[in-house]
């Protein structure tokens, strides 16, 4: 009774870790975006292959540590000769690339479905179901030719009509998935969406294997958007589909059928997903006949790896876990950069932070290295531009490192007119320098950030009033503009294009606005040539680094532990483990 | 003379309390014959209830304990019996009813079920037989509409009716001895008379011996064949009822009788025995009544008087009637006036 009630309340204790496990860690489709995380600690991510050495200095902690001696493998693992068990957080059971949302549904869908093009280790793309793609001079018409041997797991061939059917599903008025199909500007998509047209005029089926798509306006992402579409079998998914109502398609979410390396045999919600190799896969049947995704949680996933109950799992990165897993001996421990970064947003429209000099002073005045060290030890790095150093768009040419420098910060604040008040707190034309800071609770970074930031800013003469809040509550305060500072994290997409730093961009949390940066991003979006785009984004990052609209904190890492008996992986921060499942084999 | 049913031999029951050991029952001996109604009389706290509870062995063990003496029932010493054998006797051969009818019945069980329990337990009756017997018992104790009563709950009955039910429960297995611990004290006079009449005609029908514990001399006069008077844990006088009323020997008994109001005799102030019942802790070797006794002599303060038999069956524990007492106290006045 009373005990029961408080037991129920106490259950929210796992609030933070649940939020991390499946709540805040949602990702959009792999092609467009990578996971955003707020307090996320366990989203799957890629490993850095040997040659992708991080830019600033060899970082021994990050990278792959091979298993020394797979003979130590415990009995349960050795006994599994024809199957592999992969630990995962419970998927939602939405096995359909149009609708899936969590990273865990992604991982399973990537084994069941494959699209026309697929991502490579460095974030660029290569052909998959399609064998060649022609682009018209005006970059507005894209013609995809599908491989002859591209078949669905039920043996039926993948045809252009399936591609058209799938595009219709995307353009349907009741499509509520993660992608934003209308933004691809396919000609005729708006009419189909509105229901005024029965067909999509911009898409023409030339023959069984060729389809051409015309867009009204193109940008660097158009080819990726159109290529990453997984053609769903019209025969299987089309039954009962009427324009305007996708419910018949959604009913097949837990009974998927696709052209990927595996096909689903059994799904027990909340427990496991059993998959079998798809003999009709165009890349040849996978080498591991049976694949089992078993639901694990971060309280016991490490123990299961050690006891051989699971072959692969994502484990929270901290010194204890890494040390423990490395000491086991038969596990490959991949510590790889997470596609995302933590930052302290400042309300640039708030008079406190309007002056660039103040923002720079606040960045100098915060000992970011100590926060990162306290929170993640060697497994995270301070960053100064909003991009992962693994991405082709990364640059560190004339980027200010803002190393912790108390005196510089103090002098900059004096120059900015914030004089030390009687009680040690700075004042400027009568207003005290007091910052209201909000952060989500139960997060290793916040536990370290708040005390250190309070201490640092006290020395600077700034009073910090901190509070912990539910993430959505912070977002709502942001939308109302009623905030000074808050801590959150952003996900990075393989493509550098984003709305975070554009004036009034959908994701612009800091109210930052710099017309030059806006122009650079617009140019970058339109530019198709990779080298030119690198140049554009480098300039943009230099300007953002200079303006310091927010205090960029860290880029952390994820850890993927894999039993040494499985070989043939090709894992990078962009190419997740499930993409190489079709070539992995069990070493005898 | 009927055969002796129960015999208390130098029973000692003591209670350990924070203030010291209380000798609630201090060397008590008397016996009850078959079919006889014996009344145990005395002020509250004189040990009469404890004597009964010792017979039933229902003394709450942490503070209280039977430390000495014997209780013979049909020749067998109950104190030697095992727990199982004793519980087989309780409710079967020896039954008991209590003072507080309001809280003596289990509030959550029906009347019928509570009466049937001893029948099922002791006599192994089937439910059907038990029900018939219960209906019979309810009628016997003078309650109308037995079937309705059978299914009703204790809180639906009045105090008098509940006491009748208690009697029905006690008599269910035709006990040889019925102990009644102040059965009518909590009831008003009219109901009291009915209960006593009921007990009397049951005794005549089933030849049950009754051990009536009371402090009401009216009840004693009406019910008792034989009377035992107790004071501060000891038996100070016992005699057949007429003999006791006609010729009370012990000053305490005389005091009790004098204190009884007599109809149509106006009295300014009712006589009351001076003083208080002594503090029960370590009373010592003396006549416990000495500080309230008009005829108190030196010896009374130093030595406990033995219970001496005088006329047939009339025993008294008082130095006035002992040789030693007579020798050194010549000037004793006349022994109190007998009052009917």
């Amino acid at each position: 009774m009373k005990k029961r009630l408080s037991l129920m309340l106490v259950t929210i204790m796992a609030f933070g870790s649940i939020l991390a496990a499946c709540g805040g860690g949602e990702e959009a489709a792999p092609a467009e975006t990578t996971p955003t995380e707020t307090t996320d600690t366990t989203t799957p991510a890629e490993t850095g292959t040997e040659e992708a050495e991080p830019a600033e200095g060899a970082e021994s902690a990050i990278g792959l540590t091979e298993a020394e001696d797979t003979s130590l493998n415990p009995a349960p693992a050795v006994a599994r000769t024809d199957s592999a068990i992969l630990g995962t957080v419970a998927p939602q059971g939405v096995f359909n690339p149009l609708f899936h949302q969590t990273a865990y549904d992604f991982a399973i869908d990537d084994t069941i479905f494959s699209s026309l093009i697929k991502i490579k280790g460095d974030g660029t793309y290569e052909n998959d179901l399609a064998d060649n793609i022609e682009i018209s001079e005006d970059n507005k018409t894209y013609t995809f030719h599908i491989k002859d041997n591209a078949k669905y797991s039920d043996g039926t061939p993948v045809t252009a009509k399936d591609y058209l059917f799938t595009m219709k599903l995307y353009m349907d008025s009741s499509y509520d998935g993660q992608s934003d199909p209308l933004s691809w500007n396919v000609v005729g998509s708006k009419e189909y969406n509105a229901g005024t047209a029965k067909d999509i005029s911009g898409i023409k089926v030339i023959d069984d294997q060729t389809v051409s798509v015309t867009v009204s306006d193109y940008d660097a992402m158009t080819q990726v958007n159109l290529g990453a579409v997984t053609p769903l079998s019209e025969a299987y998914y089309g039954k009962g589909y009427k324009q305007g109502d996708l419910s018949s398609v959604k009913q097949l979410n837990d009974k998927p059928m696709g052209p990927g390396p595996y096909k689903l045999t059994k799904y027990t919600p909340g427990q496991e997903v059993d998959l079998q190799a798809n003999e009709n896969y165009h890349g040849g049947a996978a080498k591991i006949p049976n694949l089992i995704y078993k639901v694990t949680t971060d309280t016991t996933n490490m123990a299961m790896l050690q006891s051989g109950e699971t072959d692969l799992d994502n484990v929270t990165v901290n010194e204890d876990n890494v040390e423990e897993l490395k000491s086991v001996g038969f596990l490959d421990v991949n510590v790889l950069k997470n596609n995302g970064y933590g930052y302290v947003a400042m309300n640039n429209k708030n008079p406190l932070f309007a002056d660039k000099k103040v923002r720079q002073a606040l960045t100098y005045g915060l000992n970011r290295a100590e926060v990162v060290e306290a929170a993640y030890g060697p497994y995270a790095e301070v960053i100064n531009i909003p991009q992962s150093d693994v991405s082709w768009a990364y640059t560190d040419k004339d980027i200010e490192a803002y190393d912790y420098d108390l005196e510089k910060a103090k002098s900059m604040l004096d120059e900015a007119g914030w004089k030390e008040g009687a009680d040690g707190i700075r004042e400027k034309d009568g207003k005290k320098f007091e910052i209201n800071f909000s952060a989500t609770a139960d997060n290793p970074v916040v536990d370290a950030l708040i005390p250190i930031m309070t201490e640092n800013y006290e020395e600077l003469g700034i009073k910090l009033v901190t509070e912990t809040l539910d993430f959505n509550a912070i977002m709502e305060k942001k939308d109302k503009g009623d905030y000074d500072m808050f801590f959150a994290a952003w996900g990075l997409t393989p493509d550098p294009d984003t709305t975070v730093y554009i004036t009034d961009g959908a994701q612009n949390n800091s109210g930052y606005s710099n017309p030059e940066v806006d122009a650079l991003y617009a140019k970058g979006k339109k530019e198709l040539d990779l080298e030119k785009r690198k140049e554009i984004y480098a300039q943009a990052y230099q300007m953002i680094n200079e303006d310091a609209p927010e205090i960029l904190m860290y880029q952390r890492t994820n850890m993927l532990a894999i039993n040494g008996r499985l070989d043939g992986w090709d894992i990078t921060p962009y190419k997740e483990y499930q993409h190489s499942l079709n070539q992995v084999e069990i070493a005898q | 003379m009927a055969k002796e049913l129960v015999e208390f031999r130098n029973l000692e029951t003591h209670f350990k309390t924070s203030a010291g050991t209380v000798k609630a029952v201090n060397d008590v001996s008397f016996s009850i014959r078959e079919g006889e109604t014996l009344c145990v009389v005395g002020e509250s706290g004189c040990g009469k209830s404890v004597t009964a509870m010792s017979l039933m062995q229902l003394i709450e063990s942490p503070p209280g304990k039977i430390v000495g003496g014997q209780i013979l029932f049909e020749g067998k010493d109950l104190l030697k019996l095992s727990k199982k054998d004793m519980s087989r006797l309780r409710g079967n051969d020896i039954a008991m009813i209590f003072q507080e009818p309001m809280s003596s019945l289990n509030p959550v069980f029906t009347i019928g079920k509570q009466i049937a329990e001893p029948l099922l337990h002791h006599l192994g009756m089937t439910h059907k037989e038990a029900k018939a017997r219960v209906i019979e018992l309810i009628t016997m104790v003078g309650i109308p509409r037995p079937e309705k009563i059978y299914d009703s709950y204790p809180h639906e009955l009045s105090g008098g009716m509940r006491q009748r039910i208690m009697i029905a429960i006690a008599l269910s297995c035709n006990p040889k001895l019925l102990i009644a611990d102040e059965p009518t004290t909590a009831l008003d006079v009219t109901i009291q008379a009915q209960i006593l009449d009921l007990m009397r005609d049951i005794k005549s029908k089933m030849n049950t011996a009754i051990m009536m514990i009371t402090h009401d001399l009216g009840v004693v006069a009406e019910m008792a064949d034989f009377v035992v008077v107790m004071y501060a844990g000891k038996v100070i006088e016992e005699a057949p009822v007429l003999e006791l009323f006609k010729n009370p020997q012990h000053p305490y008994t005389q005091g009790l009788l004098k204190a009884k109001p007599i109809i149509n005799q106006r009295q300014e102030r009712l006589y009351s025995i001076p003083g208080q019942v002594p503090n029960p802790v370590n009373l010592g070797d003396n006549c416990h009544f000495h500080d309230r006794c008009e005829f108190c002599m030196e010896i009374c303060k130093v030595k406990t008087p033995p219970l001496r038999a005088h006329a047939d069956g009339h025993k008294t524990a008082c130095w006035l009637y002992e040789e030693e007492g007579k020798r050194n106290e010549r000037n004793v006045g006349s022994v109190g006036t007998a009052a009917e």
């Binding site: 009373k2 408080s6 901190t466 539910d470 | 503070p63 809180h155």
Partner: protein, 309 residues
């Protein structure tokens, strides 16, 4: 033969008229006799002293973090070792005690006060009051506590309430969420007691209802109230840490026993650094045990039916 007229003096002298002891004094005497209850009282007082006076003697500051000596086992200068930010755990446990003890006791007091009164009123008046109060209780029980807490957290931050002041809201919230259980228990007891003879006697005396409820009925429910209150304290202490997550209570780095235990939520932390979670866990255990011992002692002391043991 003394003369009758001085009989009255004799009686008075013998009776040694003693001023009768007030029920509370008897209860206090009985409570004092109960060794276990006394031990409980002493422990509780000690806990309060340590938590409120202890920090003054500690050489360390509250938020003094230095990552150099993080995760040190108990040693010379850190008697109970340090946590992963290098903060002295002994100091944090003491400071956490201030919050957890006050929250635990005050919140429970609120829920007991509301629960017992509403329960008694519902039980006594039966028809209308009972229906209304019990339906409100049903609604309270049926409401999803988590969304409410999130909303409250957001409102508090919008109103710019000083984070350190929010602890008082926390106590109120825990109290408000906790009363329903006790209300139902007290109500069912009152329903039974209401039927008993002594209540008809109070009717005969024409006592005011409030006297009937509080002076005659409530003392009988004392045992149930005490048990539920003592159980409630442990729950309140642990609930506090949950509410602090949602911004309703304690903001890190301020420690509370609840959030110190939750910090150790991995098997490794469990095994390798027991000194981070054993002290707060132990403190809660000691406090809860002490409170329950006092509860037992109180119940026996206050229980009118209790024979003088």
């Amino acid at each position: 033969m003394e003369q009758p007229q001085n009989r009255m003096e004799q009686l008075q002298e013998q009776l040694k008229i003693v001023k009768p002891e007030s029920p509370w004094k008897i209860a206090a005497r009985r409570f004092a006799k109960n060794k276990l209850a006394l031990v409980g009282l002493i422990i509780l007082v000690l806990m309060f002293l340590i938590c409120f006076l202890g920090p003054l003697f500690s050489p360390y500051e509250l938020n003094q973090t230095d990552v150099k000596n993080k995760n040190q086992a108990p040693n010379g200068d850190f008697w109970l070792g340090t946590d992963k930010l290098g903060r002295d755990i002994l100091l944090r446990v003491m400071l956490a005690g201030r919050i957890s003890l006050t929250v635990g006791l005050v919140a429970t007091a609120i829920s007991v006060a509301i629960g017992a009164t509403l329960g008694a009123v519902a039980g006594f008046y039966r028809r209308y009051a009972d229906t209304i109060i019990m339906r409100i209780a049903d609604i309270f029980l049926a409401l999803p506590t988590l969304p409410i807490l999130i909303t409250l957290g957001a409102i508090l931050s919008d109103l710019k309430i000083e984070p350190s002041k929010r602890i008082y809201f926390l106590m109120l919230i825990i109290g408000l969420l906790g009363w329903v259980g006790l209300a139902r228990l007290v109500r069912s007891q009152i329903l039974t007691l209401r039927e008993q003879e002594f209540m008809q006697a109070t009717e005969a005396l024409g006592l005011r209802d409030s006297r009937k409820i509080f002076l005659h009925l409530m003392p009988n429910t004392v045992p149930i109230i005490i048990v539920s209150a003592t159980l409630g304290v442990a729950g309140a202490i642990l609930t506090e840490s949950v509410l602090s997550f949602l911004g309703l209570g304690v903001v890190p780095p301020t420690p509370s026993w609840g959030n110190m235990i939750t910090a150790a939520n991995s098997l490794i932390e469990f095994r390798k650094r027991p000194w981070t979670w054993i002290p707060p866990g132990l403190c809660i255990l000691i406090t809860v045990t002490a409170i329950n011992l006092i509860g037992d002692g109180l119940r026996d002391a206050l229980d009118p039916k209790m024979k003088n043991r």
